[in-house]
Symmetry: C2
Subunit: 551 residues, 2 copies
Amino acid sequence: MSDRDLSFWGWGYAEKFPDEDERRELKDRLETMLGFPERELRDPPALDEVSIPDSTVSVPEDLAGVCSTAIEDRIRHAYGSGYRDIVRGFRGEFESAPDVVAEPETEDEVRALLDWATENRVAVVPYGGGTSVVAGVECDPDGDDAGYAGVCSLDLRAMDRVLEVDEHSRTARIQAGATGPQINDQLREHGLQLRHYPQSYEFSTLGGWIATRAGGHFATVYTHIDDFVESVRMLTPSGEFESRRLPASGAGPDPNRLVLGSEGTLGAITESWVRVQPRPSHRAKASVRFADFDAAVDATREIVQARLYPANCRLLDSREAMMNEVAMDGSHVLVLGFESVDHPVDDELDRAIEIAEARGGTVSSGPRYEGPHRDDAEAGGSDGGDEDDENDDAGEWRSAFFEAPYKFNALVSMGVIVDTFESAVTWDQFDRLHAEITEQVTATMQEECGAGFLSCRFTHVYPDGPAPYYTLLAPADVGRELEQWREIKATASDVIEEYGGTITHHHAVGRTHREWYEAESPDEFRDALRAAKERLDPEGIMNPGALLESE
Amino acid sequence: MSDRDLSFWGWGYAEKFPDEDERRELKDRLETMLGFPERELRDPPALDEVSIPDSTVSVPEDLAGVCSTAIEDRIRHAYGSGYRDIVRGFRGEFESAPDVVAEPETEDEVRALLDWATENRVAVVPYGGGTSVVAGVECDPDGDDAGYAGVCSLDLRAMDRVLEVDEHSRTARIQAGATGPQINDQLREHGLQLRHYPQSYEFSTLGGWIATRAGGHFATVYTHIDDFVESVRMLTPSGEFESRRLPASGAGPDPNRLVLGSEGTLGAITESWVRVQPRPSHRAKASVRFADFDAAVDATREIVQARLYPANCRLLDSREAMMNEVAMDGSHVLVLGFESVDHPVDDELDRAIEIAEARGGTVSSGPRYEGPHRDDAEAGGSDGGDEDDENDDAGEWRSAFFEAPYKFNALVSMGVIVDTFESAVTWDQFDRLHAEITEQVTATMQEECGAGFLSCRFTHVYPDGPAPYYTLLAPADVGRELEQWREIKATASDVIEEYGGTITHHHAVGRTHREWYEAESPDEFRDALRAAKERLDPEGIMNPGALLESE
């Protein structure tokens, strides 16, 4: 993958931007199915028409080989991949592009860069896949980086190697700039995989996952990057932070947990020992339909409280199911999947189905059991080591999962506001939270845009609560769409805050969520974190304005 | 339980100190089985013969109702329950007893106490069960608390209520001073249990578990208190630290993780929402014997890497098996147990046995399956809600587990050095670590004491490594036993440090492990932690010398 293959203004590969026919079909669907007023298809910007301010930073000679001030590099590192980013990209607005882009290949180069930046008070923004949806990789020149000489985007993707594999302990030492596919490609010869699949998997990096506490595709147990990290290495302006490789420890607060979620504000993560796994040998899956949403929620709760540990336990509400063409009959769908590297998981699936049926669910797809020794007619047996088989436990869902972000590009091009937001909340508070979100966000879309669509799914479930994930669509007044979006986003965030959810289960805080993060997190904790930051980053150069207010 | 029923000098209930006949039997066993030179039985001290220095602290009138400077109270809060503590207790040496003992019943009283202590620079040591084995609840008057007006032991056991139960989310809000039995007693009417069973379960408290990152009895998945904590409330000298109740969150570094393992150095934990569970309805268990230790280790690794999630997966080496009378034939024993609140776990046990047998293991006890609908002859069916059934999945082992600490009292009384130490290490390094520990610790015991016994078990196992736990016995030169112990302890700790283990998997750092904690943890992390502490505890009154060097 070369940076040059990627869209400079939107999500993913440039060539995957849908052609006019496809976009027209999507537009027609929105107008007829959702009743949106007629939308106008617009063309994306051309790179050579974009202009940005001159760089305010001059790079010293010894860093010249690592740094670039080329306009294209700066444009390509200006934003993450949230709705607001894509809108600005589509408009060709890149005023807040960084002044310089560094692409180090070694830790020594990272260290030299941090020393130079500290000395010259240049803000440094660690950059991986550029897939942040919370303005995590963007410094606002009129705001938080005021007082800095400029902004340097520290792109770590040249550091993309699996350095060591310990097959006995099933762990690997991996550089922070490696993307999902790069990691699995290098692990393949060892018969191992990381099996961490955030939606940004194709582009995002190990370092980015750790910095933002990424959530993987799986519903329970080992899914968060937090649980994969055995040790981590981070270069801070004041020195090296390296934790010891340990399966577990009770020695003081966990040092890894200070790095996990630090969002680049303490230093640049350079490598990590992570827990890896063989490819699953056994799988079992089914989809269950429910007429009643509350019953589906109860069934989901009972399955996770039974500690059956499903790999997939994704409840789609009827709108989500319809949008993803999983069910067109108004049903809510619970997608269940189990997998194991060792033993059949048929009984677990059967028990989960039993629980779902007791709540009024009807199996609509499957049960389907897969395993190496299985020869019954139902077996799928897709054990062929195909490149992208990581999520083949629910085929129709999986392609939609990785393709969904591309829809953002198309939707922006036709003047549709599109966003996702997510939370986690205890079961006792979910019903209220969900009802309020549905009512208030829909009302705000109606008020701001005259129409709107909102759907919900559970991405992860816990014995004490679900992680609901919402997708919204609304017709924009082109030119005013960011103001409209801001109102809708604020409504959603305010309701989450008021009804006891977290402002983010796995999208991180960045700059977009900071206001609500401040309401949610203990003041004393943020004070402690700020003190820690001052110790590790005395000049405050690391990603100022992300997570914590810049001082 | 009243404090007055407990031994003031040793572990647990005073009345459980074995009588002379029992002690003589134990003494004979050590002499004949382990070849120890003849030991002399000595009698424990009498409370009224103990003298301690006068308190240096005068308590203000508004705190008089909460505080005591009575000699007995001060003596009873002098130490934890490590070998060194019991030896000093048995000698009647309590010079470092705190100057005052506070027993608040409300948060307001805790707050007033912290304000007074901050103003008067009195060191405050949060105290729960007093079961620390790492000098976590003891301030050294000649060392770390130099410069303080005195030491206050902050006993939180009067705050012992379950305040709220959310049956729907399976969580409960519990005060920090509640002990294991107090928690389960109050949860019983809701049909719930905490199911967290550290060896100190009878006496230690929720707050203590959180402060020290306690490990429970179970071998895999939900066993560490870390995983039970949904939110936590801590009073710091600079204000209240309260995290939000959430099943999960990706918003910044996890605030709970700063409190978990903080060992009283940041504030006093007052309550926590924790995840609770119904009583398991299904169980399956077996013991497997191995002639070869390496084969047993391989089998254990394969079982945990198969992600079968056993509740019990305790490998006892032949010495450990013999000492606990589990196997007298020189076998190593793997004790396997599975349990579920929902479904049979027979298949999981069968598969684990299959893996063990493939490595040369032989089932010696069980398999035994228990469940509500089971009527075969093998069923135990102990579903009677008996007071202490929490660990009945391996009967012989379980009583030994909770009784073991009482042996410390008896052994000290007969001049035997007894201690346990533990670690966690990746599988690839375990063999070397274990070989070196066995060789060097045995050699040091031989050198210092002329004889010695060392046994090993795995308390917890992870896909990437085990948590080995060692028990040692050696004949002491009475009067010089602490010097001898210190040499042995240093040898063990040095080897752990050198061969890549953690200085503690679940015993915590306290003061005993601080030197090795400093070697193990990233300097930059301790710097950050110190900065956080200075922010939350500006006068440095909270448990000075625990975890971090006092400044």
